[in-house]
Symmetry: C2
Subunit: 642 residues, 2 copies
């Protein structure tokens, strides 16, 4: 097949591609990201490129996107134009997409991020719901005509008349607080104001605020992952979709219990969830203030939050008593949550700012999983995929655009770096990769700092390397007869040293004890048993899955092969497995940036079928069988050899 | 024409009617009120009677309302059955209507009130919007199925699943406050709870409260008329539509100014409407507590308020700054007001209870006028009618089911009994009727008490009688040369004594001064000039009006002939003029009891065309011409002779 060269300007990047490749694919190969909202369907018209040299045919179906002058100047849509010649192509700034990537996330899935925010125009109706850029709160600058005796409609009507032109809502609700001194504000600002408008429900907009002057350049929101162990906050620029900053900290609820069960027991025996509610609010406020201070952003310019968490975390956040979640028949107060003012939860953003909570499916499949399904696109495609979200509770979902079944298993915090002396989150100084060869330990840390502990991906590597080097057996027990200067025994609990105290940032050695390895094996066993049980329940084999998305707070360096080798992930073609990082915060951000995505999350949550593993006897056998490296049934892991 | 006798059982009341009279009319003549929601259109099927003896033909069009057995048993619809024989008719309890009537209201227009509330079933959709009984807040008792592993939907979903069966809403919003300890409340009450649900908007219900047990027998609301001079509160049983009690008091805002203009000046020069807001809230709270205490009703069982007032009053009530209302181009902050929690305005009812405000048309045609239009049915009929609402601001509306034009005129409080030394509201001891004959003054007081002052209807009588007896001239000036022991001159302001100090309850004489008569003439002149101007504007004559509805706080005894004779009302056939009392509180009560009526008020307000009299030069000439008894142009009042 013939090959052609394509040169992209102004970057001057050149790639060689096969005839018939689209310009969109060629650009991707050149590392240039093109703004293609519709995902290459030729319907959004955003991915406009200009052919400078060489011959390329304009697809006649796309003519409607261009003026005559533009066609003569050689404009085409990248996704609908195939390379049949050597080409030189200009990428206009507006067609450019900036990829963003942050420490707590994995790879591959990114939302469109615009390089020229001021040029965004909102179409009246989305074409592709999941990717349509329409933040759940928008600021709109209005220059209103002054009232006259012939046009003396009320101030509110004057504003909504204008908003109806600019936004897709049929009607608007304006809070009383916002109305109360509206008359003076409009007149004091010469009728030039900025309206902050939230999607309320369906076609109803909610006017949160009317500010004097043009404040539309300062519009921010928060995507929050309320994890049982870790809380992550992303501060997002709602004009551009860009993540301005991200911070994470340990969930302060940990003092009331390590997992959701013990925290519910605390709340329900004390008759109050107040301390737990306050703890998670303190998490969010601390993180938000830290980012805002760091980036020089005022809290008053933050008007929206989308929070994703498991059902118990969502209940604690909203102040809903979760006692009926804990015991059979496991009933939450709500699975779809009302839009509330953030101030009503004591969250410090603009006093008129709102908080939406990602919907849950059931007591043990929560908004974090629904967010993950949004993020990986499982519900958008006809092929069947699997999402494995590894957290303190592990959730598994299998399905496609027609059906989704899901389940959850209590995995404990071990794989997130919780519960072990040297365990830590994936932040600076965490060992994220480990290799043991000939008794030598090599490791890599995040930000190449001196080691402070081991994060999830490092722990998976650690177990794999210990087993591979036969320092531990398939049962996770140390071969203590080995003469190894890295092995010491403390309180009859053998412990392996990955970094000696002299190497570390803290002066404490980074180690892993047999008991801690046991917890990690229980965690991976419970996750794998849940995946296996769910597949058996629906009568499918692992090979029938087109994609497996792995989400969780492991850090960025999860080694899929090693995760398979310890028996955490099923032994399928690694090409089918994709690590997507923190899919909860990613889905929350998609909902924050896209009303259709948020609405889709509600419809997805409603059509997910939850399987209660506690009600499914084979699960316990699967769990016991999985407490081995990789598994007691080696036929399940044909590719694994230690 | 032949006549027939109709006997109604079980009352055993007999009337004689002409052939062709409907049974509905015959029952009315017999003093038996039949529940005819649709007003005799044959579409509601509520006015079912059973023919016991005699021959009556069932209208074939109404067959669909009956089962075969009922037809055989002689059931007919009262409004669709004409008397052509002597009949004995049974009135089933469900078909019976109880008429209610209160002191502050006039005659004729009453809402359907049910005698057997427990049998009310809400049809899914109304047939006749204006009269459909569906309170804006409803209590629904629910016995929920307990959750099981096979039915473990969320508590909220369990409730809305049941509510969707019982109410017409498509979806429900539940406040966070209501959700927060819902789980415990449901389980503590064995899943037997009462939901309080408000109409939020369109097809969305708002669950305000979930109470343990069955509290549905205690469901009350308030209809409030926020008048510039007088505030009226009716406490209404939302199960039956019955008015449980009514109280009125002087608007406490009076200390900040007598009319809306001076109160706006106060608020706007002081930069705060807080004292005015608090004053009217104190009015409402005082009245509500008084009725509730008197009737033994808990404030916690009041969950809804509908308030009607002019646009300025509505703004003060809701805390909206009204400064732009006052000056050209007369712009209110809003004309359609948001549903708010009453507690947010410091009104003491159930903390989850809501307040709706009747929509306004413009700065000077307010929710009280819209309520009046609802009450008199002007917007429901094809014939053209006129509503004259006499208050501190007088509002006039002319129109039919296709168009309505309206205007307002500042009338002052004189005709409500304000501003005059002996003026008073229509309460116990007010002189409501006066006759002067041969120098003798005869009067009647409300509740036959010793006189305390004169209310509106008495003042109209007073002026008429003084003029008729030539004690005052057509210019309202006393003929001081008359030797009359009832005439005294104080500060060069002649004053007529209607009741000497010895006759009165207070020990003070009840009198009327020339200056006070001057104010009354200005008031009546401004109202008449407004009516005349509006009719001229639309090019109609008084004769073309089919009905003239007169509303206002005159008391119950307004003498239409005397009101014409002093030139307040146009000189048309008195049969066309109907005094309907306080139509503002009446319309507010209709909206409280009927979601379709409330929704209709919004659509009516939107299609009303407001004529600014201040922008209509002929008005001032009309006003000056009307400062005479009855008028400077006597051809306008051909029937009036003094």
């Amino acid at each position: 097949m013939s090959k052609y060269k394509v040169t992209f300007l102004p970057d001057n990047k050149e790639v060689e591609v096969e005839a018939g490749t689209t310009l969109l694919e060629a650009a991707e190969k050149a590392g240039i990201l093109i703004n293609s909202l519709c995902g290459g369907e030729g319907v959004c018209g955003e991915d406009r490129l200009q052919i400078i040299k060489g011959k390329a045919n304009l697809d006649p179906n796309t003519i409607g996107f261009f003026f005559k002058e533009e066609i003569q100047a050689g404009y085409v849509l990248a996704c609908q134009t195939r390379v049949e010649d050597n080409l030189t192509v200009m990428v206009p700034p507006k067609s450019r997409l900036e990829k963003e990537r942050i420490v707590t996330e994995g790879v591959a899935i990114t939302l469109p991020v615009y390089s020229e925010p001021e040029k965004i125009t909102l179409p009246r109706r989305p074409r592709d719901p999941a990717a349509f850029f329409e933040p759940i709160v928008t600021k709109v600058y209005l220059e209103l005509p002054k009232p006259t005796l012939n046009d003396n409609i009320s101030d509110v009507d004057r504003i909504t008349r204008e908003l109806r032109q600019k936004l897709r809502f049929d009607s608007f609700r304006i809070s009383l607080a916002c109305m109360q001194d509206l008359a003076a504000r409009l007149r004091g600002s010469e009728w030039k104001v900025t309206a902050t408008v939230a999607r309320y429900f369906n076609d109803v907009g909610r006017v949160l605020n009317i500010e004097a002057g043009d404040t539309s350049s300062r519009s921010y929101g928060l995507a929050v992952d309320v994890g049982t162990t870790t809380v992550v906050v992303q501060l997002v620029d709602l004009r551009t979709g860009k993540v301005v900053g991200v911070e994470a900290n340990h969930n302060l609820q940990a003092r009331y219990g390590e997992d959701v069960i013990s925290r519910m027991v605390y709340a329900c025996t004390h008759g109050s969830l107040d301390p737990l509610h306050k703890a998670v609010v303190a998490n969010i406020n601390t993180l938000t203030q830290a980012i805002a201070r760091d980036k020089g952003i005022s809290l008053a310019d933050i008007n929206a939050i989308v929070a994703a968490g498991n059902t118990t975390m969502s209940h604690f956040l909203l102040g809903l008593m979760p006692c009926a979640i804990r015991l059979s028949p496991y009933v939450p107060t709500a699975t779809v949550y009302p839009q509330v003012y953030a101030r009503d939860l004591d969250i410090d953003i603009n006093p008129q700012g709102i908080l939406e909570t990602m919907p849950s499916v059931s007591s043990y499949v929560g908004g974090d999983t629904v967010a993950g399904i949004l993020a990986c696109g499982l519900a958008d495609r006809s092929e069947t995929s699997c999402l494995i979200d590894v957290g303190t509770n592990g959730e598994i979902a299998v399905g496609n655009n027609e059906w989704i079944v899901c389940c959850s298993a209590s995995a404990g915090p071990a794989l997130e770096g919780g519960g072990a002396r040297s365990g830590m989150r994936a932040t600076k100084g965490a060992i994220e990769k480990i290799q043991i060869m000939d008794g030598q330990v090599r490791y890599e840390t995040i930000a190449r700092a001196r080691p402070r502990g081991i994060c999830g991906s490092g722990l998976i590597d650690a177990i794999y390397e210990l087993a591979k080097n036969r320092i531990i057996g398939p049962d996770g027990k140390f071969n203590v007869s080995t003469d190894n200067k890295r092995l010491l025994v403390e309180d009859s609990d053998p412990r392996y040293i990955f970094a000696f105290s002299g190497e570390t940032d803290t002066g404490q050695a980074v180690t892993l004890a047999e008991s801690e390895i046991g917890n990690l094996i229980k965690s991976k066993g419970s996750i794998f048993a849940a995946i296996k049980s769910l597949m058996d329940y629906i009568g499918m084999t692992f090979d029938q899955l087109n994609n497996i998305y792995v989400a969780g707070g492991f850090g960025n360096s999860l080694d899929i092969r090693k995760a398979i080798a310890i028996g955490l992930l099923p032994d399928v073609d690694v090409g089918k497995i994709q690590f997507i990082g923190n899919s909860s915060v990613m889905g929350a951000r998609m909902a924050l940036l896209s009303v259709p995505a948020f609405e889709k999350s509600i419809s997805v949550a409603k059509r997910m079928t939850n399987i209660e593993l506690s009600n499914y006897p084979p699960y316990m056998n699967e769990f016991i069988a999985a407490l081995f490296l990789p598994h007691t049934d080696s036929k399940l892991f044909p590719s694994v050899r230690y």
